[in-house]
């Protein structure tokens, strides 16, 4: 009965490595799914702001309106998720106590604040037509559109940073499968953001104006698929969590939806319905990608193998020993 005996083979655990009663070495992230959701909404906001700005400059009012409102909605959702995930939500404003370049979250807070201001003004400008012709509000009615353009451009300027800093946010941890993925994660997130925003555009804007949205979505899908593949297969042991369990399922689902959505964007551009469906698929794909990456990281932190084995190998190479020689 005793796994202590060598003869019954149980003596040796699956991968031979030392651990303390199999307990994790690093702590699994304490973050809840708010953060996974934020990864999506943040990306969506960023991409949409870019679309809106482009539409503004190229005279696509419907696409601009869709972009600006999506950006605002996603921004508000993001803020909610971020505050809700705090252990002490009432102290949200402490985020603005310091500005730490060494903290992606601190940088992100400032980026999000800047982006929020611009996106807010831009979205407000969409309300101009509703204002009266004359009087003080009349002035506002005439002043808002140009202000909106300025705000929109400001938001667009910070948007790429907003879409990609979240990759650094995850990578700048001791969570093995996140940290090791730092070279590719930003591209996964950028691609996912473009695809999602493009999808939103396809969903909300008339097909006549949605061309840029379709092209953005296609570009995003391509980048996303390419980068995700490197993350799921290119990092040896620590890629494993991206292929296993719930994380693996999410990411496989994401891939299928991305491909489907991209196909739709490529071929179904003329059809309002197909465009809408493809848009939804791409947004869904983006959601799944973010949750998949999030889950994979947590799993990698829970099992000491992903922490100990790579470090052993590193040591092994350094002192010219084989990694697992005890």
């Amino acid at each position: 009965m005793s796994p202590r005996r060598r003869d019954d083979g149980l003596m040796v655990p699956p991968v031979e490595f030392g651990s303390y009663y199999g307990r994790a070495v690093v702590k699994a992230p304490a973050w809840h799914h708010d953060i996974a959701a934020y990864l999506f909404t943040g990306g969506l906001a960023a991409g949409s702001a870019l679309l809106a700005a482009g539409a503004d400059l190229t005279g696509r009012p419907a696409l601009r309106r869709a972009g600006r409102s999506t950006a605002l909605g996603a921004l508000l959702a993001s803020t909610y998720f971020l505050v809700n995930d705090l252990g002490r939500p009432a102290r949200f404003h402490h985020m603005l106590r310091v500005a730490k370049p060494s903290s992606p979250m601190s940088m992100g807070t400032w980026i999000l604040s800047g982006f929020g201001a611009g996106a807010g003004v831009a979205a407000a400008a969409e309300a101009a037509p509703l204002l009266p012709q004359h009087g003080v509000l009349g002035l506002a009615r005439r002043a808002l559109p140009p202000l909106g353009t300025v705000g929109g451009l400001a938001a667009a300027a910070t948007a790429p940073a907003l879409a990609t800093y979240t990759a650094v946010l995850l990578a700048d941890t001791a969570t093995p499968s996140w940290h090791e993925a730092y070279p590719d994660l930003p591209f996964v997130f950028a691609g996912s953001a473009m695809a999602a925003a493009g999808g939103a555009g396809m969903l909300l804007a008339p097909t006549a104006e949605a061309g840029p949205a379709r092209r953005l979505a296609l570009a995003g899908a391509a980048v996303d698929l390419a980068a995700a593949r490197r993350v799921e297969h290119g990092m040896g042991l620590v890629s494993e969590p991206y292929r296993q369990g719930r994380a693996g399922a999410y990411l496989r689902g994401a891939r299928s939806l991305t491909i489907a959505g991209a196909a739709g964007a490529l071929l179904g551009g003329r059809s309002r319905v197909l465009s809408a469906l493809s848009g939804l698929a791409l947004m869904g794909a983006s959601v799944l990608t973010r949750f998949g990456v999030f889950e994979a990281g947590i799993e990698s932190a829970k099992d000491p193998r992903y922490t100990v084995v790579p470090q052993r190998e590193r040591l092994g190479q350094r002192d010219g020993r084989t990694a697992l020689e005890p």
Binding site: G18, Y20, V26, R91, M105, A171, V223, Q311
Partner: protein, 321 residues
């Protein structure tokens, strides 16, 4: 004043954190070769810092019923029963009670809660004659926050709640922490932890209030055998080197230092150890590296991705329709 080594490499952290004429860096040297596993450190710490209990769970990990460092255990004594050196300890029960982030989860559940704590070829009952006493070891180690030279928890904290003190130690400012949880996933040792119900992050402060008043940290003051030694880090490093030499002379060749080297992945620990086996056997990472070492590279990659995104957008608007 911040310098080239602010994120990685040898560094005296207090001046780097803006302390003009800072006092000498203080730290712990935990010599596990004289630890008797009494856990006075755990209790003395809790009495002084008013840390809540960590739940009443028999873990079956030898005499370790704490299960590792957590928001409610700032010192935790590890127990490893070994028939001989360098046999890995595997599997154990998990704490059933939520008292902060789980100190760690067991791997794939095994058929029965069988003890693999001390693998051996034969059961003693079946052994012929008698085993040499030296065949069997019972290792004990009082684990604690490492107060890294390059502290990831401190680097990533977005509120400034985590603080480098003038003594070079790292503390959480409880009036500032808003429980964002970033520090928890950043720590390469799995030390700092979020307290359930409270929401904030907690860990060893090296008794900042006491040492500021010239007192010893509670755990070091209590430690009956001076397994936990407190003092100026430079002096402790010399003492530790001597101790290893002595042990090697006496044939205790498995003795080695952990976290003492300013050139290691975290720039050296403010709390370092003398171990009698590989670090992972005690639940320590064999070669920890502060995550922020790669931060510049990360920002670079993120920048590239951002540019790509901008470019893609422009391209998307070039075409007609």
């Amino acid at each position: 004043m911040a310098g080239p080594n602010s994120l990685y490499g040898p560094l005296d952290p207090a001046p780097d954190a803006g302390y003009v004429d800072a006092p000498p860096r203080m730290g712990f040297f935990t010599d596990t070769s004289v630890c008797i596993g009494c856990k006075a450190c755990e209790v003395a710490c809790k009495e002084w810092n008013g840390v809540p209990d960590d739940g009443f769970n028999l873990l079956g990990m030898s005499y370790d019923n704490t299960g590792g460092l957590s928001a409610n255990s700032w010192r935790a004594v590890a127990f490893i029963e070994q028939p001989m050196p360098r046999e890995a300890a595997v599997t154990a029960a998990m704490t059933q009670q939520g008292t902060g982030t789980e100190p760690g989860a067991a791997p794939a559940p095994r058929p029965e809660p069988q003890f693999l704590g001390m693998p051996t070829t034969e059961l003693p009952g079946r052994r012929e004659g008698h085993d040499e006493p030296t065949d069997f070891r019972w290792l004990m180690m009082s684990n604690v926050c490492k107060h890294c030279t390059h502290a990831a928890c401190l680097d990533v904290c977005p509120t400034g709640a985590l603080l480098r003190t003038e003594f070079g130690t790292v503390v959480v400012q409880e009036d500032i922490c808003n429980g964002c949880g970033y520090c928890i996933s950043a720590c390469p040792y799995g030390v700092i932890d979020q307290r359930k119900g409270d929401g904030r992050a907690w860990k060893c402060t090296l008794c900042y209030d006491r040492i500021g008043d010239g007192l010893m940290p509670a755990c070091a003051q209590a430690c009956p055998t001076q397994s936990i030694q407190y003092g100026e880090l430079d002096e402790l490093r010399l003492r530790a080197a001597d101790r290893v030499a002595t042990l090697h002379e006496r044939g205790e060749t498995s003795a080695r230092l952990y976290g003492h080297d300013p050139d290691d992945g975290v720039g050296g620990d403010g709390a370092f150890f003398l171990l009698l086996d590989e670090p992972e056997v005690y639940g320590l990472p064999p070669d920890p590296v502060v995550t922020t070492r790669d931060l510049p590279a990360m920002w670079k990659r993120a920048g590239l991705a951002a540019l790509a995104m901008g470019a893609a957008t422009v391209v998307a608007f070039l075409g007609r329709s």
